[in-house]
């Protein structure tokens, strides 16, 4: 069993604060994971709230992102899952999680995820997983998530999908907002 890497470091950075080299490395690592098309990542990357990089020294071994999806798309996902009342326009999508094949099983993903949770605090967020992707489709592995409704098919994918969400109210409360405190 591989050992966790020592000296892992994770940085959470807005795309406007990333160099072109960092962004290209981000795209390469997501493409390596095989869960998202490179062109789609390249197109959507400027719309992300933050990119999350985990590595040692100058070497990046794993990435993730927080994307603010189209409000229509958020509603679509929660409708497909059978829980439209949970759709929250403030919810960011945790996506493009990918760890370099050579460095899997060494604590990279866990480190990346912990930094994401620290950054988000009590903000609502959600994530979409392929049901067949057993590494990440079980919400029990990430204690903060709940499984929203039922698994579903959507025109966006040929695979059965699972929606998981964190910090979501059972019914979206439009009075809630973000307060700096």
């Amino acid at each position: 069993m591989p050992k966790n890497l020592n000296n892992l470091k994770t940085i959470v950075r807005r795309p406007q604060d990333c160099s072109d080299k960092m962004k290209e490395e981000f795209i390469r690592l997501v493409a390596e994971g095989g869960e998202a098309e490179e062109n789609r990542v390249r197109l959507s990357l400027p719309y992300t709230e933050t990119l999350i990089f985990t590595g040692v020294g100058n070497h990046i071994y794993g990435v993730g992102a927080l994307l603010r999806p189209r409000i229509n798309f958020i509603q679509h996902l929660f409708q497909c899952a059978g829980e439209p009342q949970m759709a929250n326009p403030h919810s960011v999508e945790s996506c493009w999680i990918s760890v370099s094949i050579r460095h899997r099983g060494k604590g990279v993903w866990r480190h990346n995820n912990a930094a994401k949770e620290e950054f988000l605090g009590n903000r609502p967020y959600h994530s979409l997983r392929r049901v067949d992707n057993k590494n990440v489709s079980d919400p029990a592995k990430e204690k903060i998530y709940i499984h929203v409704g039922k698994d579903f098919y959507s025109p966006i994918s040929k695979d059965k999908l699972r929606l998981i969400a964190a910090n979501h109210d059972p019914i979206f409360n439009p009075k809630k907002t973000f307060v700096y405190m």
């Binding site: 807005r14 795309p15 406007q16 604060d17 400027p46 719309y47 603010r68 999806p69 189209r70 409000i71 229509n72 403030h90 605090g121 009590n122 903000r123 609502p124 910090n167 809630k176 907002t177 973000f178 307060v179 700096y180 405190m181």
Partner: protein
Amino acid sequence: MSDNKPKIHAMLRRPIDCSLQNIELFIKIVLASGEVPVENLNRGVPAAEMLIFVMQEKVVIGVCALRYPNAKFHKHLFEKATVPEMYNPHSLEACWASILPNYRNQGALSSIYKTTQKYTEHRPMHGVHRAENNLISEPIKKLGYVQAGIDFYSDTSDNKLCLIVKNHDPVFDPNKKMRYS
């Protein structure tokens, strides 16, 4: 006597929820003010937190944006204004305000303010404008902004600049963050 002036109103849209045509229109209106290079807009508009469109009936007559600027530039502004302790990475910049010349002094700016107030009322905000831009400098004071530090020159402009802030602590408190409540 009835007031037959067409009503002005503003609306908030996240860039990802805008059509490509709306993004192009936004950029065109900012360019009309002659204050911002097109490269900055092409790169920065998709990454903005929120775009604001001011409408007179169905015509877009002005725009503005809320964004998180590049962190280095953001810090640089507060250093130049001689108040580096006020730099707050959570502060949104109100920027790219541009009202088409034929529609100025008709309430477009206060319409932007009213529409964004709910979104920004709890958030630290800042903005930078030419110190001699009276179209902005006088009305903005009525909207709750105060000058941070002193006017200054920066490498990014030939003009003397003025940094204005709202909801900023005199000294940044790293324990504060945006919370959902």
